[in-house]
């Protein structure tokens, strides 16, 4: 490939920024949504601790979605119209789910006691609706919004698998942030979610090349395939390690953060695999990032803002996680 000018590099940079925003969103709000979906398995006292464990973070986590979709909107306006037009209904459902979950955070502790149960149910329902919708959207997106009997089936499978992945991530978060009985139960939930999540991931990894010729050609060519094998291999090792760790005592002790961190690794690897499959398309087989991009002048203005603000955002995000590090206490209503 010839050397790119800075102007032709710009869409690549923005695709990377968008991808990273979406990845940070999926991981960070993923554990929030996962915790939300696990709520219906917890006792009332445990629910309070679970919500407290994500309370200081969820809002900033959701902002990454706004940034990701914002970059799609401002850097790739043509793709934004196409993608969100195709996903109109699931986007609406996701937004309604996120709305319910977001307001339930505050309403559940402020409403009358008799209404608290309703808000808890809405918290669970909102998390579930948002996760399933996101799974469906991801499935439709990967398959380039294809038509035919197998496409909805594929999207449906991801719509089931993604909530499982979130639940596993949420359980791992709780293993890290809680202790005692709740931690014990979280380990149990993680082990329950592990199987379906891994099965889903396997299924999707096999189905994606089958559903998309572009992806097939990308992955099953020599010599790339040898280098690429690292991605599924490391993912597999990480997942197995998580499973093994969950059986040991060390996740109850000082290494309670390890499963969570390894799962973040799994999400990152999955993201890299996806990025490799899709690039340089923004909508697979339909629209490349250069076809969809805004003018270089506008992108430069935004990039300037990104370069200044992203380090600051990273800074105070780290600060916030440091302030609220450690275990979530148990609630004792006097």
């Amino acid at each position: 490939m010839s050397v790119m000018t800075f102007d032709t590099m710009l869409p690549v940079i923005f695709m990377a920024l968008m991808g990273i925003s979406m990845l940070v969103y999926v991981v960070s709000d993923g554990y929030d949504l996962g915790v939300g979906m696990l709520m219906h398995r917890a006792t009332d006292a445990e629910k309070d601790v679970m919500v407290a464990s994500i309370g200081p973070f969820w809002d900033a986590n959701e902002t990454w979605l706004v940034l990701g979709i914002g970059i799609l909107l401002v850097a790739f306006p043509k793709a934004h119209g196409l993608v969100l037009g195709e996903l109109y209904l699931p986007v609406t459902l996701m937004l309604i789910g996120l709305t319910l979950r977001g307001v339930a955070f505050d309403f559940r502790v402020k409403a009358k006691d008799t209404h608290k149960k309703t808000w808890d149910r809405l918290f669970f329902a909102g998390s579930l609706i948002a996760s399933v919708s996101q799974g469906w959207m991801l499935g439709r997106y990967i398959s380039g919004f294809g038509e035919g009997w197998n496409y909805p089936l594929f999207a449906g499978a991801i719509a089931l698998a993604l909530p499982m992945a979130y639940a596993l991530l949420g359980a791992a978060w709780l293993v890290m942030k809680t202790e005692g009985e709740l931690q014990e139960r979280a380990i149990g939930w993680a082990r329950t979610a592990w199987g379906p999540m891994v099965a889903g991931m396997l299924l999707i990894s096999m189905a994606t090349p089958w559903i998309s010729a572009t992806v097939r050609e990308r992955w099953f060519a020599l010599p790339e395939i040898i280098a690429l094998m690292a991605i599924p291999l490391v993912t597999g090792i990480a997942l197995v390690t998580v499973r093994v760790l969950l059986k040991t005592q060390i996740v109850r002790g000082p290494l309670c953060w390890l499963p969570f961190v390894m799962l973040i690794g799994v999400f990152v690897l999955g993201f890299l695999g996806l990025a490799y499959s899709i690039y340089p398309f923004v909508v697979i087989d339909k629209l490349t990032i250069w076809q969809a991009a805004s003018s270089p002048a506008a992108l430069k203005v935004i990039l300037f803002g990104v370069c200044i603000s992203v380090p600051a955002i990273a800074g105070y995000t780290v600060f916030s996680y440091r302030v609220f590090r450690g275990k979530t206490g148990e609630l004792k209503y006097a």
Binding site: S53, T63, L67, L73
Partner: protein, 470 residues
């Protein structure tokens, strides 16, 4: 119904719901900072009860803030999607201008406020007093900064400047002109003051309700005073800014003014219509109640000044009926605010800031006006947004040309879902505020428990050491 109307209704429903909450949180952030500073100032003083009152006020209103903020966030996320789902052509045409403005809002404002909100809400005793104060400041600053960017974009859509068009796509020639476009300073000031007033009446109203119910004895008298003072100061300024904004609109968007005033034919010495029912079929008004020459006087500062009528704009003018009434509702509520805040402040001062000496009827009036800021703000936004029609970018791009081609049945279905959800949430919000106002000690109790349970770093919490389950 056709897709354009449905898309507009859906977007209108969403932004109407959305603006209710930022309007509260923009002003409330600064009010909280004020409460906090008052507490810091008084806590080592002789009057322990007063200090406790400020702390109670801070903690109670932080909860109101958190709830309002959450509703603003979730509806704002919906909005960020609807720019694209409802108006895909908008971004394709003016993305080079709107994109960076929205981008800067997310990068500079959203992350700032969201990043520090956790520390502000749950960081008590986990960070130093200074850091906590900084976090509160950043949240307040972030919400205001967010208003800055979004109003820059909105104002650009009303009075576009600093651009050139190449092959139907808009490009920036001067960012300074884009941001500081002709209507921006007026609209920003008008909105920030609207937020201050909405907060002021919320503070006044809920405190009055608490006093009527005999709860929150330590904090409610103080908050009532803050609310009334803020309202009494902000409302005359708002009336002046509103007037200046109107003159600016006359200069740049005369069709909007013609619709507001119900002037169908260009005339000299136009009367001020206090009431009328504009009729688009006959292009005239029914049941006019008017003050002769007053509109000309207000708008041109001359008794015989000329006001361009709707006839000068062909079909390029907004619908008259909603404009006419929305404007009068906004101004009417504004006048009511002026009367109640000045009278209330004067009576309260005469009562030496002792609420017991205030007539209960007055407290009922305050309570009745708790959400008056919402009414005025929404009415005002209807004036400015409906007043831009039939354009999405005034004079340049028609709304109908950028609408999405999503089937109208789909838009209708999602519209129904959104409206149901929003109505339910507004009811829940108002109900919960009332409940919280009546049970402030429960709110403070929950606050204490939440503070204690939130992870607290490496054992620097005086409330509950990290790792402790005891």
């Amino acid at each position: 119904m056709d897709a354009l109307i449905l898309a507009r209704m859906q977007f209108a429903a969403n932004i109407t719901f959305h603006i209710l909450f930022p309007t509260i949180s923009i002003g409330m952030g600064w009010v909280l900072l004020f409460f906090r500073l008052r507490w810091l100032k008084t806590r080592n003083g002789p009057d322990k009860a007063a200090a406790q009152g400020w702390l109670d006020a801070y903690r109670f209103w932080t909860k109101v803030f958190a709830l309002s903020f959450a509703l603003g966030v979730v509806s704002g996320i919906t909005m960020s999607f609807q720019f694209g789902t409802n108006w895909p052509g908008f971004m394709e045409k003016v993305g080079n201008i709107a994109g960076p403005l929205l981008g800067y809002e997310v990068l500079t404002a959203f992350f700032l406020e969201a990043g520090f909100l956790g520390v502000m809400l749950f960081g008590h005793g986990k960070v130093s007093e200074r850091v906590h104060l900084m976090a509160t400041f950043f949240v307040a600053f972030g919400t205001t900064l967010s208003a800055f960017w979004i109003l820059a974009l909105n104002s650009w859509m009303q009075t576009p400047a600093g651009y050139e068009v190449i092959d139907g796509v808009y490009h920036v020639t001067s960012w300074f002109e884009v941001i500081f476009n002709p209507s921006f300073p007026y609209r920003l000031a008008h909105m920030l003051l609207a937020s201050a007033l909405t907060c002021a009446f919320l503070l006044t109203g809920l405190s009055a309700w608490q006093l009527l119910r005999g709860v929150a004895q330590r904090s409610a008298p103080k908050v009532l005073r803050v609310g009334l003072t803020l309202a009494a100061i902000a409302i005359p300024v708002q009336i002046m800014v509103g007037d200046a904004h109107g003159l600016n609109t006359l200069e740049h968007q005369p069709a909007k003014i013609a619709a507001i005033e119900g002037v169908w034919e260009t005339e000299r010495g136009a009367p001020l219509l206090l009431f009328a029912i504009p009729d688009k079929e006959t292009r005239s008004n029914h049941f006019e109640i008017k003050i002769p020459k007053m509109a000309s006087l207000i708008l041109t500062h001359e008794l015989d000044g000329e006001i361009k009528g709707l006839n000068s704009f062909g079909d390029k003018h907004p619908p008259v009926l909603p404009m006419f009434f929305a404007f009068r509702i906004m101004v009417g509520v504004g006048m009511l605010m002026l009367a109640t805040s000045w009278l209330g402040w004067w009576l309260y001062r005469r009562a030496k800031w002792q609420p017991a000496a205030l007539p209960r009827a007055l407290l009922w009036v305050f309570a009745g006006m708790t959400f008056s800021g919402w009414v005025a703000t929404v009415a005002g936004w209807y004036v400015t947004e409906i007043g831009r029609q039939p354009f999405i970018v005034y004079g340049l791009i028609r709304t109908a040309d950028v609408v999405s081609n999503v089937p109208s049945a789909m838009i209708g279905l999602t519209l129904a879902l959104y409206v149901t959800l929003y109505l339910a949430l507004i009811v829940a919000y108002v109900t919960v505020l009332k409940y919280m106002a009546e049970k402030p000690e429960e709110v403070l109790q929950i606050d204490a428990v939440e503070q204690a349970v939130t992870p607290a770093g490496a054992g620097n919490s005086p409330v509950l050491p990290a790792g402790s389950t005891a």
